[in-house]
Symmetry: none
Subunit: 196 residues, 4 copies
């Protein structure tokens, strides 16, 4: 995976074209019928170019679906209550796009089945999300809203899991006021309780 120093450099447009193709196909036909051949054809690219960059369909789709700005810089709303709602909104926007929503279950399954370091769903993604979360909690402590910092993984599981469960396990419709608003009060209460 180390880029080459000599030889023809990788063409720039391919990554973008592939991402676009994947996202279109995910939306049109879902994960399972979003074929590697179809992706290559739609992107106007050979399969070799795909497998040169990613080592499986799962990695390919993952890379196409996770955009780096998924987790924006942690927005400070001034209150923990507001920050929690903001984090939830970010999580929702990362999980609820038409592509991600179609891709996530299949992706989870395929990444799990592969061995190697990529098997963990977006290590990087989760690490950044966790750091984000730690910062939000620390701000709340600085404001005096929390006495101590709760275990970050616990908070992480509650926030991420609640959104995921709503969308993919319970498969409830997103409520009119927005999913973040529906979940925020309870999860705010949870954090307060843990930070007491």
């Amino acid at each position: 995976m180390t880029p080459n120093r000599r030889g023809r450099p990788r063409e720039q447009g391919i990554d973008a074209a592939v991402r676009a193709a994947v996202n279109e196909l995910l939306e049109e036909v879902g994960y399972q019928r979003c074929t590697v051949d179809a992706i290559a054809a739609r992107a106007g690219v050979g399969k070799a170019a795909l497998y040169r960059r990613w080592k499986s369909k799962a990695e390919l789709v993952f890379a196409a679906v996770v955009h780096d700005d998924a987790i924006a810089a942690p927005h400070d709303t001034g209150t923990l209550r507001g920050d929690v709602a903001s984090v939830l909104a970010d999580i929702q926007s990362a999980l609820d796009g038409p592509q991600v929503r179609n891709a996530l279950p299949g992706l989870l399954a395929d990444l799990r089945a592969e061995d190697g370091p990529t098997a963990r769903l977006g290590e990087l993604f989760l690490i950044r999300e966790r750091a984000y979360l730690a910062e939000v909690l620390d701000r709340a402590i600085a404001r005096g809203e929390l006495a101590r910092r709760p275990e970050v993984p616990v908070v992480h599981a509650m926030l991420l899991g609640s959104v995921f469960a709503w969308l993919h396990l319970l498969r409830e419709a997103v409520p009119p006021g927005g999913l973040a608003d529906a979940l925020a009060p309870g999860l705010y209460g949870a954090i307060i309780e843990l930070g007491r």
Copy 2:
């Protein structure tokens, strides 16, 4: 799926043999490499017998993995705090077995990909869990621990999602004190906040 009226009756031992084979294979090789052919071979059964009973691999595995006592009768511990921990323990025990843990992501993906009523195969499971949850909340109200009943789907998403995220998204190790104990305080706080 209607059983036969005439002709040779279905052999009794098959269901059990298949369940056993599925569970062994799930544990040994995971969901994707737990092939229908492998299941049939291990169970000493023809594939036709499988598809006579279940209409897809996903249904087959689901049936083999979900034991009816997954959601026990709602145990009344006397306090909401205790009940929440008890529910969480039940959820964890339903999701954390060596088979379910391996099967769940693949199952989610395949059930989602199927169209028609099978897609909601987990419905029954979820409905019972939700009823269970409603009862726990109502007991808390009766005890005076809650002023009003929170939205059940919200609570459901938080409880189920937290466990799922811990196990399958964050893939954290189960903490020494047990997963339920780690998550219970926060989620108790969440319910209190929502029932205020």
Copy 3:
């Protein structure tokens, strides 16, 4: 394929290095697994340099395998019987090297599949062989061994074909006395019959 007039001249050593690489690989792994990439790598050469010189793998291998002295000057042994054995020995030495033996079937297939003039790349080789043959026959007439000159293509087919069939169709082991000696008497008889 026209050489350049201006600019950097082609490096001299490349042709030799490539020929060597091809012959090694043919002997080691055969025609099909003698990849263009492998040739380039072994020769320490870029693929572009190969395709600048030859227009396909088949041409490349053909050039590497056919040495110009393949058909030596027609050696006059003094009798038709001797000349036939000599021609056969030449043909065998052209077809029976460890490289040619491995390359020939694949080469035949690929050259045939290409359209255009390359398909007849062996032409030159065959034309010279045929001229050689005509000379041998004419000498026999001059000696009075033959009354008239047989059809050269017929004689050609018999001589070349017998050797080829032995090596590549029947895949018989080369007999102890040498292939030429085993085939010469019969083919001498054939020519006598045709020249009667």
Copy 4:
């Protein structure tokens, strides 16, 4: 490759359908562009059914192209001269069909590249052809045309090779009188010489 005793028997029509498809494709597009996928599609058959019967494209095509009646029962014309012409005509008809002619070079190359017993081009085919030849020679001895039996492989190489060379090495047009008639006199002379 042992046929099954239990389970669904192999469908009968498939072999015939595949042979037909292969022969059509060979004639239309040649060996290299006669794709396994195209064969399966044209025959209305899955690729698995093909690979269940033959272990590579080469074997598949070989089986489709060699028809069992390729070498008919050795026809006794009453004279060695006539028998030789008859054998040659048989060989030509086996090698000169529009399909075989297209397939042979590619087939030779691919079979050679594979390891294992099939690598030898139609062992069975050659064995039968050789037996045929031995019988022709023995008849000639019985008639008193030959004093002793020439080495069969040598005769085999001359007869088979001459035809093959004419068609695939020299790539001469088949002469008006027929290829067998053009080659028969010389090869008759060869056999006489060897049997003297």
